[in-house]
């Protein structure tokens, strides 16, 4: 059945469809609607689950991991400061090898504090052991939560997953979403049975004990890494299952107008929808441009990205994040996917934009492609990330500086 759902409602709906047993929660904008909806449905007896308001995200993520370990299907959600507040526990949950699914509604990170999205929050978790799926649309959000359980609970993986959706652009935006029936979801995602058994008196276990030997420590960390890499294939498997049941298909990396493209933009998340429109316009103008959207950020689909970008003339990597003192976070990862290939693109350029929800429109994408084309033609490689900031952005900031009492600023 098609419904008009916000990104947040899409998450909550998927959680209900997945027959999640347990939801520890803590509010934070722009995620809160997810837990409000789930709480309401539980109170109205539309969902047989328990939601507990915890005292912080640190406690919330802890409780989620512990409950999953004990054997219930568990969900939680957070954003931005909340993710960072619970950060220590991300590494722990991954080490506990629990298939918790957590929605992160992306929002920039303080200071300065903001409500609007970028990806510094979720990308800070990239080394934790959580798998990461980044969604472009509300439909993909709903579908990805279901797929996340399929992948996380697979015995070849057994790692938690973050499903990322952009604050505001998806969280509060209604889109038509095809909502499957509960039974249809159950047919591909049966009740969760932990491989190591439920925690109970018949099954005494010692979990997460100290490991004071570097060899054993390495063993456990390598195991997690290899299990994460398994998710490349397991995503494929889950994707086939999902497509068979619902007719929608998701690849770990998504190509758009790519085949004959000479210049390609690489990016993630909801801004991709605007980029697609820009690509279409540029195609109409006769420019051979295309797009690659990375959906699975962890494990990182290095091979697939390499294959998709090989033989292109120029590639622009648009990071909606900033690693202060380095630049875009995804840029070096994309470079790493290509360096070993003799058919790698001539130029791979790093762009940063959309921080704190700053608007990026079609003209920005055209600018990105022009700069990339130019660098190939002139054989010039910018060594630093190019920071997108238009004249009108600057005049607006100058106005605000004046109001803030900083006087006239030379531009």
């Amino acid at each position: 059945m098609k419904q008009l759902l916000t990104g947040n409602a899409s998450v909550a709906t998927a959680v209900r469809l997945c027959a999640v047993d347990y939801i520890p929660a803590f509010p934070i904008t722009p995620q809160t609607e997810i837990i409000e909806l789930l709480s309401r449905w539980i109170n109205e007896d539309r969902m047989d689950a328990k939601l507990v308001m915890m005292d912080s995200e640190h406690s919330m993520i802890t409780a989620a991991g512990a409950a999953s370990l004990a054997g219930v299907r568990t969900f939680t959600a957070t954003s931005s400061q909340g993710l960072l507040y619970g950060f220590e526990m991300l590494y722990n949950l991954a080490g506990w090898r629990v298939p918790v699914v957590m929605a992160n509604v992306s929002r920039g990170v303080s200071s300065p504090i903001t409500m609007e999205p970028d990806h510094n929050d979720v990308l800070s978790a990239r080394d934790s052991g959580f798998l990461q799926i980044h969604a472009e649309t509300c439909q993909e959000v709903l579908d990805s939560v279901i797929m996340a359980y399929l992948i996380s609970e697979d015995s070849l993986v057994r790692l938690p997953t973050i499903v990322n959706l952009d604050g505001f652009y998806l969280s509060y935006t209604r889109e038509p979403v095809e909502v499957p029936e509960r039974e249809e979801v159950a047919s591909i995602l049966p009740q969760y049975i932990p491989t190591s058994g439920y925690m109970n008196a018949q099954n005494p276990v010692s979990v997460a004990v100290a490991v004071l030997d570097g060899r054993a420590y390495s063993y456990f960390k390598y195991q997690m890494h290899l299990a994460s890499l398994n998710a490349l294939d397991v995503h494929e498997k889950a994707s086939k299952k999902f497509e068979k049941a619902f007719g929608r298909k998701y690849d770990i990396v998504d190509g758009f107008m790519l085949d004959d493209a000479d210049y390609v933009i690489v990016m993630t998340n909801s801004l991709t929808t605007t980029a697609r429109a820009a690509i279409k316009e540029m195609r109409n103008e006769g420019r051979k441009v295309g797009l690659v959207r990375i959906r699975l950020l962890r494990p990182f689909p290095r091979q697939k990205i390499g294959q998709m970008l090989a033989g292109k003339k120029g590639v622009a990597v648009l990071d909606q994040n900033i690693s202060i003192g380095s630049g875009g976070i995804l840029y070096p990862e994309v470079l790493g996917a290509l360096y070993h290939r003799s058919d790698r693109p001539n130029k791979i350029i790093s762009f940063i934009g959309g921080l704190g929800g700053k608007h990026i429109g079609i003209s920005d994408f055209k600018h990105i492609m022009s700069v990339t084309e130019q660098s190939v033609k002139e054989d010039q490689q910018p060594l630093q990330s190019i920071l997108l900031f238009t004249d009108s952005d600057w005049s607006k900031v100058k106005q605000m500086l004046k109001v803030a009492g900083k006087g006239e600023v030379e531009g």
């Binding site: 520890p24 802890t62 004990a70 568990t74 925690m199 979990v207 004990v209």
Partner: protein, 306 residues
């Protein structure tokens, strides 16, 4: 309520020997008895501290389940496990008779400092769990720095007596019992390894209540307190006899004392046995400081005996 004697202590051990903890560790003794009395249908949830060194891969001394979490959030993990067990039992995936008691064990630093919020949350949510704090009055696992449970005038690695602060620690011990009791959980008690029968009685009493059941245990730490391993029980006994460690319980916020001395010994008798208070006696007696400590104890008991 039946009166307990040592003979009532179960013979069977839940915690076996051969751990890497210090000889004479008061905390370990407490944990052993606590686990023994609660029995093996339990899962111990632990925050970073000395007891985290009990289970070290690939060994564990526990016959029951053990779960190391992180320093700040053991009570939150207890919440997750308790809720999961309730859900599993309700949905018929785990049998009622295979249910587990959820037991949090942490040191005083996790309880009074970094994990206080998580504990407050668990109490507020009326979580059905046990919490045992082995209170050795400092961060012993990292070499004995001051925690907010370190008593006034004790020497720790971060409160070394000096010309500027000859008394050592300038701050008073945080009153965790009162903080906990203010949440009105069904049961809070202080316990001591020198009063095992009192401890057994309290655990039994606590077990009748659903909800948070919390215990703070006097836990002498030979290296941190600078005492011999064989002095541990004597010290714990003196702590009660001098009144510096009141044995008490609070049922739904109502406090009663389980041991009241007819005549309290002077606190000096307790202090002078410990290297961490040596500076109060050598090279010169710090009479004013000693009097301050004694006055605080006397004032406490004056309120109790009123």
């Amino acid at each position: 309520m039946t009166t307990k004697t040592l003979k009532d202590l179960p013979v069977e051990e839940s915690l076996t020997s051969g751990t890497m903890l210090c000889a004479g560790c008061g905390g370990l003794l407490l944990v052993r008895i606590f686990e023994k009395v609660l029995g093996q249908n339990a899962v111990t949830v632990n925050a970073a501290g000395c007891m985290s060194m009990l289970s070290v891969f690939p060994n564990t001394p526990f016959k029951s389940s053990w779960f190391y979490v992180a320093m700040a959030s053991a009570p939150a993990a207890a919440q997750g496990i308790r809720d999961a067990l309730d859900i599993l039992i309700k949905k018929g995936r785990v049998k009622k008779e295979d249910d587990l008691k959820v037991v949090v064990i942490t040191g005083d630093g996790a309880a009074s400092d970094i994990g206080l919020q998580a504990t407050s949350g668990a109490m507020h949510r009326r979580l059905d769990f046990y919490y045992l704090v082995y209170d050795n009055e400092g961060y012993s696992n990292t070499g004995f720095q001051a925690s907010s449970a370190s008593p006034f005038s004790s020497a720790t690695k971060t409160t070394i007596p000096s010309a500027l602060a000859p008394e050592g620690n300038l701050l008073d011990k945080k009153d965790l019992f009162e903080i906990w009791t203010a949440h009105k959980p069904p049961y809070v008690a202080t316990i001591s390894p020198a009063y095992i029968a009192d401890m057994m009685r309290k655990i039994e009493k606590a077990s009748q209540f659903a909800g948070p059941k919390l215990f703070i245990a006097h836990s002498p730490c030979p290296p941190g307190w600078d005492v011999d391993s064989d002095a541990v029980i004597r010290l714990s006994k003196l702590a009660v006899e001098t009144g510096i460690w009141p044995l008490k319980e609070a049922v739904n916020g109502e406090v009663t004392h389980s041991v009241i001395q007819k005549k309290r010994k002077p606190v000096e008798e307790y202090l002078k046995l410990q290297g961490r208070f040596e500076h109060l006696f050598e090279p010169a007696r710090q009479d004013k400081v000693l009097q301050t400590i004694q006055n605080k104890i006397d004032a406490y008991w004056a309120r109790v005996e009123k």
